[in-house]
Each structure stands twice: as C-alpha cells, then as structure tokens.
Symmetry: C2
Subunit: 198 residues, 2 copies
DNA sequence: AGCTCAAGTCAACGGGCGTGGACATATAAA
DNA sequence: TTTATATGTCCACGCCCGTTGACTTGAGCT
C-alpha cells in the first residue's frame, strides 16, 4: 500500500473522527478497530499505537466530546424547552449540534462491560451533574434524573427501538406535551407545574 | 465427563433459564453460548442443536417471556400507578414478577445488530401496543410512547447507568412525582393533568 | 439379555478480534 | 547527501466465538 502522508496530528484526528462516527451508530462491542482504521484510511496497528487500547480510544472519544453538554446560554427557565427540543431532534450526521450525538454515544454503549465504567462516569460528569447544578430547590438530582429519564427514553425509543410515534403526529401538540412534562419533572415542589411559559 | 441424565424437555428448560438469566444481565453480544451451556450444565453443542443458532435461542427466550406484559388487572385508571411502581421497582433475581425482567431483557440488547430485529418486534408487540390499546382518546401511541419513555429512561438510569437518585430520596415524594408525570403523559388532552388522585 | 435411537459429549473448524514486534518510508536535521 | 527519528505498514500471534460432524452413552423396548 502507498503509505499515507505523515502528519501525526491529522491522522490522530481522523481516527478520533471515524471512531466517533462508528461508536455513535454501533455499540462499543460491535465496532472493530479494523473498521475505524479503515474509515480513517490507516492501518489497524496505528490505533493501538496512538491510544494504547480500544478502551483508551473510546475514552478519548468521550473526552473529546466533553465540556458543555448543556448548550451555552441554557438557563433554569429555558431548560425545559431545550430538553424538549433535544428529545425530538432527529439525529443527522454532519450536524454542528453535538448534544444528541453525545447522548447517543453514551446510550449505545451503556451496557458494554468494557465501556461501562467510562460511560457511567461520562454520563454523571457531563450530563447529569450539569443539569442538577442548573436547577435549584430541593432534590435537584432527583428532578434532573426524572427529566433526563424522559430524554433518554424518548431518544432510545426513536433512535434505537425505531419506534417514532413523535414524528407521525403533529409537531405542535407533541412539543406542547413534552414541554409540559419537562416542566412537571423539573418543578421544585411535587405539586407545582412549571413557571412562566413564555 | 459424566454425561448428564437424559431428559430432553428438562435440559431444554435449563438452557432457556440460564440463557434468560445471562441475557438479562449482560447483553446479547456479551453472552457466550459457552457461558449459557455451562450454567445449564450442558455441552455447548447442545445449544446450537436445540435452538439452531444463538439468534434462535435469543428469540425463544423473548418468546418465552411473552404474553401479558401488562399485569392482569391493570386498567386505564390504575395504569399510571402501575407504571410508577415499575419505574421504581428494583430488579431482584428469583422474582415472580417478571415485568421488569422482560423490559430489561429488551433494553440490554437493544443495540445489538444481531438481536435488533427481534428486540424491536418484541417491544412493539409486547409492550408498546398493549399500553397504547389500553388507553383511549387521541394519539394513544404517542401518549403510550411518552409514558414508556419515562419507564425506559428511569430503568436505564437505575439499572444500567447505576445512577439511582430515586432511592436516595424519600420514597413518598418520588412516588408522587412519578405518578404526577405518568398522569400528565397519559392524559387525553395536552393541557389536562390526570384525573382523581386516589 | 440384546437392540435401537434419542440425548449428550468431544474435538475441531473457520473467522474475527485486539495487540505487539519487526520492518519500511517520508520528513527534517546535519 | 547522508543520517536520524517520527510515522505508518505488514504480519502474525493468541484468544474467544458460533457452529458442525463424528462419536459415546444412556434409556426404553422386545
């Protein structure tokens, strides 16, 4: 084979990119290093060389899509709307919004023993805690968990289970229902139902 | 090795049982036929002989836990409470209630390409449709999906992600919040919020 | 008893996997 | 130009997987 141009940083990025794409669509177990290397136009051995192991590569992919999972500018008030948007957004490749991708990346490999620890930590650190920190009042982690349950569930239903009841209905009512649910889930007191609706 | 007693029906059941247990805790991909056969005290070859293939075995396991996923006696009125109960119930082995087990079995292997079709069909047929059929009004499938999203999400959070914010709070408020959410999700009109609260 | 056939075991195969060491080559310094 | 080193390829190892065919052994029948 004609060896590829020698640019360490670029090939590293290429591998990370193809790994991200693969891990996003198939789970950790179902992706082979040969697939990833192939997509990046690189030999398999390079992956182990650069990232130590498959596990290391996966960890790096998750670390790469780190930081502000919550989009900048999301506040306590706009959170329900943002979550509702997230719960209905279809996953498209070459999307600049990476929120759904990150969540899906986590969900896909959630029950892979090798990736479990990494996934759990990443979820806690990057999605659960930020949301819990954003809301205030009592039991923030519980309320965040409730809201995220809904996001996770709907995402799994749509993307993994391929049951999309959301898009077969009018978008308006769906959005309204979801907003209502998220407000209820995030509400400070159990009885209260959301604040300003504007 | 000392060959086991010869009882076709019994060994078949033993294999199905150990397969169910394994598939429940690890995903389709992460369970080896050798594990299953080992648990059942049987040679690996018997699995392929009895069920044709690993896929066939998995299908049979899901078919075995078929039928009334909705517990008998659950009505439109008691559905929210039942779902709330399901969303908080911890999974324990040797449990006679098999609802959670069945759902978990489906969720664990949801993103395994080999098992995907079987899982999707089983979910649609055994959990989504029954719930949608139970409620009436407009967009039953949408409302069922919303409620099931919550069940799925919370189950994944607790069982797979190992983030249990539910049990670290008082059970009372948690239950109240969940009930409220399920009533909202299943409500006929978007604005309405559930009926009589006991 | 002896016979028969289902029930179960054993050994091996082909294939994919992640990984590591030996080798090749493009780039940059001397 | 020669040399040195980072960069990338090739190859093969060991492991585990699902599956198959040939063999063994138990149970039931006459």
């Amino acid at each position: 084979m004609s060896p590829r141009v020698k640019n360490a940083a670029a090939t590293r990025e290429a591998m990370l990119a193809s790994a991200g794409r693969r891990f996003l669509q198939e789970s950790y177990e179902n992706v082979g290093l040969r697939d990833i290397a192939g997509d990046a136009g690189v030999d398999v051995a390079l992956v182990s060389r650069y990232f130590g192991s498959k596990e290391g590569l996966f960890r790096e992919v998750l670390r790469g899509s780190k930081g502000n999972w919550l989009e900048a500018g999301v506040t306590r008030e706009t959170l329900p709307a943002w979550l509702a948007c997230l719960a209905t957004r279809n996953h498209t490749l070459q999307d600049d919004r990476q929120d759904l991708e990150r969540l899906l990346l986590i969900l896909r490999s959630a029950s892979s023993p090798k990736a479990a620890r990494i996934v759990h930590e990443s979820f806690r650190e990057n999605v659960l805690t930020p949301v819990a920190d954003l809301i205030d009042g009592e039991d923030p982690e519980l309320r965040a968990s409730l809201a995220l349950s809904l996001v996770i569930g709907s995402t799994i239903l749509r993307t993994i289970m391929e049951v999309d009841a959301f898009s077969t209905c009018d978008a308006g009512p769906v959005r309204e229902r979801l907003l209502n649910l998220f407000r209820t889930a995030l509400a400070d007191t159990p009885a209260e139902r959301g604040g300003a609706s504007a």
